[in-house]
Amino acid sequence: MTPERFAQVESLLHAALARRAESRAAFLDQACGDDSELRREVASLLAAHAQAGQFIESPALEIAAHALATGPLAPGALCHHYKVLAPLGAGGMGEVYLAEDTRLDRQVALKLLPAEFTRDADHVRRFIQEAKAASALNHPNIVTIHDIGESDSGHFIVMELVEGRTLRAVIAEDYSVETLLTLGQQMAEALSAAHTAGITHRDIKPDNMMVRPDGYVKVLDFGLARLLPATAPDASAARQTRSGMVIGTFAYMSPEQARGEAVGHTSDIFSLGIVFYELATGQHPFKAETPVGYLHAITSQTPAPPAGLQPQLPAALNDLILRMLDKEASRRPTAGEVVRALHEIELEKASGARRSNEVEPANRNAMPMSASLPPAVVASRPYRHTVGRTRERHELRTAFRTAQNGRGSLLCVAGEPGIGKTTLVEASLAELRPEHSFTTARGRCSERLAGTEAYLPLLEALESLLRSDQRMAPLMKQLAPTWYAQIVALSGESEESARLLTEVKAASQERMKRELANFLQEVAERHPLVIFFDDLHWADVSTIDLLNFIAGKLDGLKVLIVTTYRPSDMLLGQHPFLQIKPDLQARGLCRELRLEFLNEAEVAEYLALEFPGHRFPAEFPQLIHAKTEGNPLFMADLVRYLRDRGVIAPTGGVWGLQQTLPDIATELPESVRGMIERKIAQLEPEDRQLLTAASVQGYEFESAVVAPVLKLAADEVEERLEKLERVYAFVKLVDEREYPDHTLTLRYRFVHVLYQNTLYAALRATRKAALSRAVAQTLEAFYGAELASVANELAALYETGREFAKSADYFQLAAGQASQVLAAREAAALARRGLRMIEMLSESRARRAQEFSLRLILGYALMATQGYTAPEVEATFSRAHELGLQLGETAALLPVLNGRYALCLTRGRHRQALGYAEEFLRLAERLQSPAVVVGHTNVGTSLYFLGALEQARDHLQQAVSLYAPALHRPLTWFYGHEPGVLAESFLSWTLWLLGYPDQALSYGLEALRLGREVAHANSQAFGITGAALTHQCCGDWRRAGELAEEQVALAAEQGLPYWLWWATTTRGSAMVERGETAEGLAAMRQGIAAIKSIGAASHLTWGLYLLAEALVKTAESREALVVLAEAQALVKENEERFWQAELCRLKGEVLRADAADAAEVESLFHQAIEIARWQQAKSLELRAVMSLARLWQQQGKIAAARQMLAAVYAWFTEGFDTADLKAANALLDDLSS
């Protein structure tokens, strides 16, 4: 192009640009005439102009700055104390240098991270955490990270120097089945260890694996993919690289990664599958020309079977690789399964080939890792040496194997603080890990929340399961929805959990138990499950209850439950576990391992492991043993203390003592606590303050909480904690979490609870209070709308912080939550603690309101745990009632009145019950509350018992006509019954008594239907009772018996003792009716005795009547009379009159059968008739009249008998199919003939 021509182009370009876009084409047509080349040129520049956007708008220096700043480090350059020696290579994620650690005088690999990756501080933090966590696994196939830091040149990672070549180079040169078998197993082992620890690699590819000349594989860059953007690198993004997108490695992504979805451990398996494929065949399983092409191929292509490309590939290995490459993540094997599959394939291959010159894989693993490293380096690593405990470890392994074979058990590791319980369990599980594939779930009990946070360790364990494997969530949702709801509620996924929580409320403890058992069974079906509960001496009663239930089912489950506890704490606290243990032990389901202190030889063994090749005097182990009495924690601390002080130090590469033994002896602390105190004293004041504040949060604490409490910057706290972990071994990083307000936090725990105890105990009261308040306030701020999930903790913190009003608030919240999940004992304990806080407050309206709410929760919780008859229940409700009246008659008073009503009703004090029911109804009416339905039902029910049947019917009918499921069903959770079921059941019985059997039956069946409709066990049970009772009254014993059977099953399953005993009684009576006399009678006796024992008395006159009736049938007339007398006494005492007529009549029948004085018999029948008439109880009048008519028939007074019976019979308008009316009709016929 000439300058002239270009000038022409340019002037046309700008002339066109000056016009509106739509008129440019016409303009060019006209301006260019037939110079089509000119037109094309201008048009293409116009298009380029439109697309160019930000192109070259930022100066070149800005683009180059990243490169310049992170540009190659010259030999000699320093990053902190690492001196760059030479470049080793460069990958997508940074340049790697050979460097010298000038402090430790060793060579390391230093990787400089490109600045593009480290702009997001959160990503960097996550990366650091994961990289460290992976390194901390100390796995021979995972590269060790020595240090992560930031210098002028950017972020850098310092790693173990691995000599060798990348797997990429290996694949290029010698891919083969043998290579795959030897190398692949190690890769899978590395992933298995990482996955078990909850770490996903996310960027598995041949370039991230180093193969040492001795055959070791080292997986690099764990967590590094965290630095890549989390969003989908889709095709359009890939094309936009120019505008600043950074994208990971396409060719090794899993389909879910390629789609930009969340990835789990299974994603690594897919990537590893590609690597395996390449190792076996030398070819990539997916065919594509460009990076973006790989994305497409991975999500859509099905790879050709590798055996087609590599004829020597065993079929099993071919299958394994294809399973790893399954597009569906859940169908891929786990890393552990890959390890085992490879092992089996290798064994098979070896036995088939019998070649002796091959490298034995077993030897490879046996090779000491530290062979090439100086002892000093080994000892400085955070190894945990487990010495002694051979027997215990053996026991644990045996228990595991037995569980693996389907016979699970509960293994208790008992011992005093610092004896090494947790370490033993962890080490034993780690030992099992390489050989066996199993799932672990772990939950800790908390000292602060001891006994009050329902199911705490269990929920924690289940949560850990959920997090370990994404397949768990759907399984738990399906099999254990009530548990799932509690856990997702804890993790704050609220929408669905709200729905599920409704189900939880409707559930019972029995259902929760059953669900849990089913879920665990299903989980263990795949791989044995090990559940580890740490510090069981702080467990809540509900957990122990569940543990007992699960333990009872262990024989037959592939589940091993391991617990640790301190026996002395258990004894002191009269822990409920002690009550269940002997029984479980007797049934062979539970074993207890008592950990004893270490002996001298074990101390010596420990020293030898810690300081390989040491030259300590022979008496040194003896001294350590004498000082520590073999307490492992004390011993380990003491040794560390000596090393930190330079008493144990290397001379010329050999560990030795720098002081004489007597000098050492005088200098040593006397106890574990003394040791810990000294360690604390050695710390810088800032570190000490930090740990003290942390101890206030608890054994586990969080960086984001401690920082604001001490008014320090988050990163400073994190740095200090990191140092306290690495240098002083005071704390241990647990994990990283996110608060509901999205603050990130690192969760730490003290290396041992004694550290926390010691720091906390040293706090002065005022400081303790101030810190507790500060911690509580910080947590409040983080949890925002989800305070409920930490209510318990906040309550305890404010309690210590002496902010009693707030503490009471949170106790109330926590207690309310506990009662929602049916943890009544915990709810009661929390409410009691809240009430103690109230006592500290000065009298005020607010105080009374708080007390009122707490009493209410306590009252209902106590009703559930102690039964209705406990004096405390009544006292609690009575106080709540008093407070409620003082506070003004509000809706809050309704549950109190209902509580008092229910209490009286159950205990049979019907007159009093009526009083509360009427008060309730009046209040509900005034408030225009939907609870009016409940009020009418309650008044009607009391009246029914009192025998005022017509009034009862009016109220009950009103309740039934007002009842609308949408409006009233929610009241179920407040009042314990579905209002419709209750109203219709009582209306059914009342109508039957009043002489309307058909209507009674239809309401009874409606109650049954409603009860089945709601997922509420109590209401369901009530509905069944309603129908059964009516059937029985109508004389349909068969149907009544069937319903009773159903009721027994339901009540047993749901753990409803009250209903169980009633159902047992009615079932017994049905059995007697069909001739199973002895069994039926026994069942009835058992049922009634049990009802009486739980202090329930309503309907008891009727229950006793059934028993007496059965006794009459077995000719036990004397006993029948005793029973009837008891029932009569109850009538007087409780004014339970609805069945009074029948009691008289039956007594008359008994006496008549015994040929007693006819006058007495007749007077009893007359009495019955009179009572029935007075109550308008036509059905009972009919029965009494029939009895009298039969007596008169015997006496020859036929006409009088017929006249009397005909009069009553004529009254009836319905129910002519029922037994009583049919009998009456037959008798009338008889009398007429």
Binding site: M1, P3, R5, F6, E10, L13, H14, S44, L45, L46, A48, H49, Q51, A52, F55, I56, P59, A60, L61, E62, I63, A64, A65, H66, A67, L68, A69, T70, G71, P72, A90, G91, G92, M93, P114, A115, E116, T118, R119, D152, G154, R168, A169, A172, P206, D207, R239, T241, R242, G244, M245, V246, I247, F250, A251, H284, E289, T290, P291, Y294
Partner: protein, 195 residues
């Protein structure tokens, strides 16, 4: 590293201006060192979330380099023009070197291990842009110079106009022309490579 005085650098620039190629050889490492220093500062600020105006940064670099008391540098814009050429040279050389280093070695299977990292792309872009710019200069020297001054030299619109003794409107017009042309050139080069 020996500190070089602004006077010394100014002398070298003058000498280069007057055709002394040895002066350039001495200049390059000095300016490069200064750029490294600036770049790390830039990155530190960026990591701290504190983005710095690049133009200000470049200006600061220039001002540090020159001896402001020197009479001939009273015309700041003129000096900037010289410095921009130098910057282009240094930045492009640097990018080219990195590209060679990264892509070098036949063992690397680029297609398979394609961690598409932006810095690499940008290095490639700088080299390609430099070549396209040279092509443009053959028939549109002023337009190419505008790009050199603004993009490589980091000069503002007004500074560029001052340096070229034209109106800011002309600079804007040239800039749009050159940008469209360069974008089209680079886009054409891209076609066979990635599509």
């Amino acid at each position: 590293m020996v500190e070089h005085s602004p006077q010394e650098i100014t002398q070298l620039l003058l000498a280069w201006e007057q055709g002394d190629q040895r002066a350039l050889d001495q200049l390059i490492p000095l300016v490069e060192a200064e750029l490294h220093r600036l770049a790390s500062r830039y990155m530190r600020r960026e990591r701290a979330g504190n983005l710095l105006q690049t133009t200000a940064l470049v200006n600061e670099a220039y001002l540090r380099l020159i001896d402001q008391r020197h009479a001939q540098w009273q015309n700041r814009a003129y000096f900037f023009g010289v410095a921009a050429t130098l910057m282009r040279r240094i930045l492009v050389d640097f990018a080219r070197a990195r590209q060679v280093q990264k892509r070098g070695g036949a063992a690397r299977q680029v297609a398979l291990d394609e961690a598409l990292v932006i810095s690499e792309e940008r290095d490639a872009d700088l080299v390609a842009l430099d070549e396209a710019l040279a092509a443009l200069a053959a028939f549109a020297p002023r337009q190419a110079r505008v790009v050199e001054l603004r993009f490589f030299g980091g000069l503002s619109l007004v500074e560029t106009a001052e340096c070229l003794h034209v109106s800011p409107d002309t600079v804007t017009r040239d800039w749009h022309t050159a940008k469209a042309w360069l974008y089209r050139e680079l886009d054409r080069q891209d076609q066979p490579a990635t599509r």
